[in-house]
Amino acid sequence: MEHIDWSLVNWSRAQFALTALYHWIFVPLTLGLSFMLAIMETIYYKTGDDKWLKIEKFWLKLFGINFAIGVATGIILEFEFGTNWSNYSWFVGDIFGAPLAIEGIMAFFMESVFIAIMFFGWNKVSKKAHLISTWLVAIGSNLSALWILVANGWMQNPIGMKFNPDTMRNEMVDFWQVLFNPVAVNKFIHTITSAYTFSALFVIAVSAWLIIKGKDKVYAKYSMLLASVFGFLAILATIITGDGSAKQVARYQPMKLAAMEGLYKGTRGAPLIAIGKPSHKKDKDFINAIGDDLAGRNQTDVEIEGLEIPYGLSILAFNDPNAFVPGIKDLVEGNPKEGIPSYKERIASGKIAIEALAAYKKAKKAGNEEEAAKKLKIMEEHFKDFGYGYFYGQDINELIPPVTITFLSFHTMVILGTWFLVFFWLVYRSIMKNNIEKKKWLLILGVLGLPFGFMAQELGWITAEAGRMPWVIQDLMPTMVAVSHIETTGVMITFALFFIVFTALLIAEIKIMTTTIKNGFSN
């Protein structure tokens, strides 16, 4: 691995990040609003109250505008695994492809077939069939989230598979382990409930804006009531599963946790940073400091400055105030006292695994079964470090994720999430007391909830994905090995095209959306 084209790797990463972040602007609203539409239609179906039909049809219009661009930005993600990460597609396609296919067969068809009924079937099918269709759209879109998050969870915690040296890939051996991967289950619940939270923020923001403008107040208040209850329950579940996520990260991706907390040196009884910032302005400095440290030149500690909660991190990560939480330094240099091997050792071990695999292939070709079996055994013993082997001769800092981005994303997300809990409660109480019209400050906070919601959504993904760099598959395959070998300029061109096209479509979406909202419920 002497000739790594970093510009190709980084442009490919940038393209995936760009398309994924754009896609995620629209997905959360689909996931949550679809259920809210189903609830609205159910109330209408049960009570026959036309008010709810009118309310539903308004939100349905906004749903449609959002859905179209969600579909447009989504198609590329599935295919990008092939176009830009072709080695990945072979190396783990035997496991990773299955959830993607199941997503198509089980979820996408349900979503797309019944969405046509939901929009255009009002006079073509019975009321009951229409209601069922609306529910099926919600179920379908959430099922698609399930399968794609199973796929993502597997990348973070690859289980249920075994490496096959003859086909040179990982192969599935236990489907249920892949599906019920604890990381996947938690990730699924955390992601969809956060999406419901976002949808509730959207409904409240639009309604608050209409109330400020003095338009359709009654409809807006009913929508707000539904959204505040829906949102409160959703954010509660998001916070609980967020805690679960932290524990899993501590267990399966300790480097990510260290980056999330900006924890340089590990300790027992580690405190949690409530609000703070890394003391070095740039990652480069942070990483340089670690580099210097490793070389034994400079023992400067790099720390996060901020408000600390004593023992917080140890409890958050391991439910034990005295648990040891490894820092970046412990993971890179190793900590024999805590039984943590250094990256140097892991790289050496990974190199043994990769070389044993090459030797196995050679022996097999020569028909030397005995030698092949010997090499295979060595490979399997060191397989847990397989991906580290590719870093032989590389800068060790490549194994450290971008700390500042991860730290700031994580903390901002947590602060916003905590605020949402309070916010939904305030809105609910105010609606019940029927005094929300007088509370202009709450209405303004309601409108601001939308950009805050976007931020929390995107930052969550940045924490999860930037924090696990350089791994596409944790400990087994780094980005530099997964990437397709195409010309960097090619990727730069498609990156620019995606940026231009998606931005143009986003502007169109926002313009159409705001125009439709201005017209209110009655139009």
């Binding site: 092939g82 396609g93 035997d94 299955a98 993607l100 199941i102 996408f108 255009f120 040179m168």
Partner: protein
């Protein structure tokens, strides 16, 4: 129950599913065909609304079929996914961009304050309508004419040399676009012919669908005129492609050594050696032609289904022709031994078993698609009816 099948049977079963999805996709591309006919069929704004709503109620099913086709191919034949998508980068990117701009166009075209203007969204639909069938047709034709790539799975275990750890390597800087100008064995003629055949075929199916579903004299008259022209063009390109296919050398696989070699008239031989396949393919082609004939001369409303289902069967037949009977379905012209076969590119036995259980959902999915389709198509579309709809494109 699937556990009892042999690995080879499972691989063939999955090739069947891929062929089924591929066939369904080409049939459903009639939505794209319709998009290219918008200005031919509609001369007034009201007529345009009819045509847009006619195809707009179906575009998501076509879109989803494409996505599922991709996902299923990934799950069952991942080496194809990594080789073709990562290699023929430009072809796939062009196809994907064409679908990206389609997805918003129906919804945004008539909306107030839509930033780009109605004309732009109509142009998006037109571009999608041309690129999707032509490029997908060309891509399928390379199943028979080959592409320049090499595969060496062992490269991933290569640490200390100048070779990149890349399993599949495309050996042309044009990344797939070379399919339309490769002169070797006149591959470009063959590839373009299938691209254009698919293009005119999906227009024909779109016209038959218009005849079936639209209640408007002016539109129908124009549809009849277009139908004749497009049918003739389809026949010219398709017959050229399939007749020439019978004469070219094919990529055969030696079942014992798994070595790939050129065999004269390979695809013709495949048909002779498996008469079932020959009959299957003929049924498909006859249905296509029967539908076209009835559409032109008899005003048969079921002509759409005849040609549509005939298209599905024909495309499935072509997928079988490309892969069964010891044939390489994705051959490499750069290094024959890198060619992909059903056997060397599939998922593991375990994954295929799991996925086979998943495939049991397909009839259920087809069932509710039929229900939804029938419910939505129970009335013909007319200007008045579309006008009275509260929610429309």
């Amino acid at each position: 129950m699937f556990e009892k099948l042999s690995y080879e049977n499972l691989q063939h079963y999955w090739w069947f599913i891929i062929a089924f999805l591929g066939g369904a996709l080409v049939f459903l591309l009639f939505v794209q065909g319709g998009q290219t006919l918008l200005n031919k069929l509609a001369k007034t704004e009201d007529e345009k609304t009819v045509i847009i709503n006619l195809f707009g109620h179906k575009w998501e099913i076509t879109f989803t079929t494409l996505v599922t086709f991709g996902g299923a191919f990934f799950a069952s034949f991942p080496l194809f996914y990594s080789t073709s998508f990562g290699g023929a980068y430009w072809v796939w990117m062009i196809i994907l961009f064409a679908f990206i701009i389609q997805a918003v166009s129906y919804e945004y075209r008539k909306k107030k304050n839509n930033f780009l203007g109605s004309k732009t969204y109509e142009t998006f639909l037109f571009i999608n309508g041309i690129i999707a069938p032509v490029f997908l047709g060309v891509a399928v034709s390379t199943f028979f004419t080959g592409s320049p790539f090499s595969i060496d799975k062992a490269r991933i275990a290569n640490l200390n040399n100048n070779v990149k750890a890349v399993i599949s390597q495309w050996e042309s800087p044009w990344h797939g676009l070379e399919a339309i100008w490769t002169t070797e064995n006149l591959a470009f003629l063959q590839n373009l012919a299938l691209g254009l055949a698919v293009f005119f075929l999906v227009r024909v199916i779109a016209l038959l669908y218009t005849k079936k579903m639209v209640d408007d004299q002016n539109i129908l008259e124009r549809a009849n005129k277009c139908l004749k022209r497009n049918s003739v063009l389809f026949l010219i390109f398709f017959l050229f492609w399939i007749i020439r296919l019978m004469f070219i050398d094919g990529f055969a696989v030696n079942p014992d050594t798994r070595e790939v070699f050129f065999q004269p008239h390979k695809y013709f031989n495949n048909l002779i050696e498996s008469p079932i396949l020959l009959i299957f393919l003929l049924i498909g082609i006859i249905l296509v032609l029967w539908g076209i004939f009835n559409g032109i001369f008899k005003n048969d409303e079921k002509a759409f289904w005849k040609t549509g289902i005939g298209t599905m069967i024909t495309v499935m037949g072509l997928f079988f022709l490309a892969a069964f009977n010891n044939t390489s379905y994705y051959p490499s012209t750069y290094d024959l031994q890198s060619s992909l076969t059903i056997a060397n590119s599939s998922s593991s036995r375990f994954t295929l078993v799991v996925m086979s259980y998943v495939s049991l959902m397909v009839p259920f999915v087809v069932g509710y698609i039929i229900w939804a389709w029938k419910s939505m198509d129970s009335h013909k579309l007319s200007k008045e009816e579309v006008k009275n709809e509260e929610i429309k494109y």
